[in-house]
Symmetry: C2
Amino acid sequence: MKTRIDALTRQINGVLEAHLPTGDVAPERLHEAMRYAVFNGGKRIRPLFSYGAASALQLEEDQVDTVAAAVELIHAYSLIHDDLPAMDDDDLRRGKPSVHRQFDEALAILAGDALQALAFRVLVSGGSENAGAAVTALADACGSVGMAGGQAIDLAGVGETLSLDELTAMHRLKTGALIRCALSLPALMYGADDDCVGALSQYGDAVGLAFQIHDDVLDVEGSTEELGKPSGSDIGSNKPTFPACIGLDASRAMAARLVQEARDQLTLLPGDTDLLAYLAGFSVERRS
Amino acid sequence: MKTRIDALTRQINGVLEAHLPTGDVAPERLHEAMRYAVFNGGKRIRPLFSYGAASALQLEEDQVDTVAAAVELIHAYSLIHDDLPAMDDDDLRRGKPSVHRQFDEALAILAGDALQALAFRVLVSGGSENAGAAVTALADACGSVGMAGGQAIDLAGVGETLSLDELTAMHRLKTGALIRCALSLPALMYGADDDCVGALSQYGDAVGLAFQIHDDVLDVEGSTEELGKPSGSDIGSNKPTFPACIGLDASRAMAARLVQEARDQLTLLPGDTDLLAYLAGFSVERRS
């Protein structure tokens, strides 16, 4: 599996490289900031979900290159904006200065804005007949009823005590919506029957939530070195987390249960589901 | 003409109203901020350019409703982000508190982000066969080689002395790209011959630049009350402007020449060009 993931990571990096303007094209510093944000050693989890969905649907992996790249560009833009002083105020991202620390705040805002536009451009560059439906799905996943909405609810919740239902609902938007989108776009663009779409959606729902719970767990138990950002930063900033809500052990148990739920869905898919099965496990086993 | 413009303004406001989530849908405050930014008494110049292009191309105006709305949503998001403390740091927008002053900075960033996503969603909601090409054009107009790129160059130019060519090139991106897009999208989505596309593009180029020069002139000679923001704020913040570059009289003359260039293009278009002719004049006659 490691060989396959390495190959797919190289593949998505190549696709991103081909679509991102180079730093010697004007405006140079903006393009440098965009590249700095995208090529920062990220694990490309969301693209891997898209490639995994492609295999599970018996598509060729390169049929979803542009989908995978679009979703990753949205993710990259969201990290830039989330790190801003007015948002989570993080100076580090994967062990390196966050974009507004490496460049400046204005350029960080603009780099995020430009990456979002680029994501939609890349999404339609594959030329699918279903481009309109794909754009709608990506816009919903990252807009006010998706990722951006989840971040707004998250920020409003700082210092508040959220119930487990509220916390779950927030993360279904903040991180879940884009992960579900990474999984459902391949089905949407190439046509898949309702059972497959349903299975991928439920898999994405479960894995997305497990992924977030594990993030919160890592923030408690991981080291700053492993995480590439200060550990304990969520608790320090009074953000609502699963461990704060239901405790560390119950959080771990809930994540493990969700991974099993996700894996159960994979039997309903016609193709090779090895990558999706691996990613489900990885979501709660990673150290950063 | 006033009756026609009033009717079209009501029309675009209705389209925007229909596409924006209401303030009683979660996340409520984010949706309120998005609406506050969009319904702030803006003149809807860019939608009027799209409607004018539709008439000039012998299309029905309502065929370009979604194009007009998408462009206006991009414009609204850009104003929110441009006003942020890290960017132009403007407390007022059309006489009212800017979004980050009325709400807070985090919500202003997110409202802009969500409006950009919504713009792409609205653009494809019309269901055109050319949705992919339209998305590409809008992404280019608002991304790093368009509006966002122009803003990056503008910020980098604070305190610098730009040549007239550099200033012109910056504004062709910062404000020109989206205006050209408002004009060219109707042609792109409904198919128009190359002469028409060329005429609309050159009209947009000239009017967009005239519009910006007049903005700079107004910043010097307009009153704070008329502008709805502090007059002299560009000069006060050391931003490069046309009056600073070539003087006030030469700026006025350059804008007038561009308006004539724009009007000359209109003879090449098959339909009713009254609205586009009016808008060309308005771009240099408005008081705010």
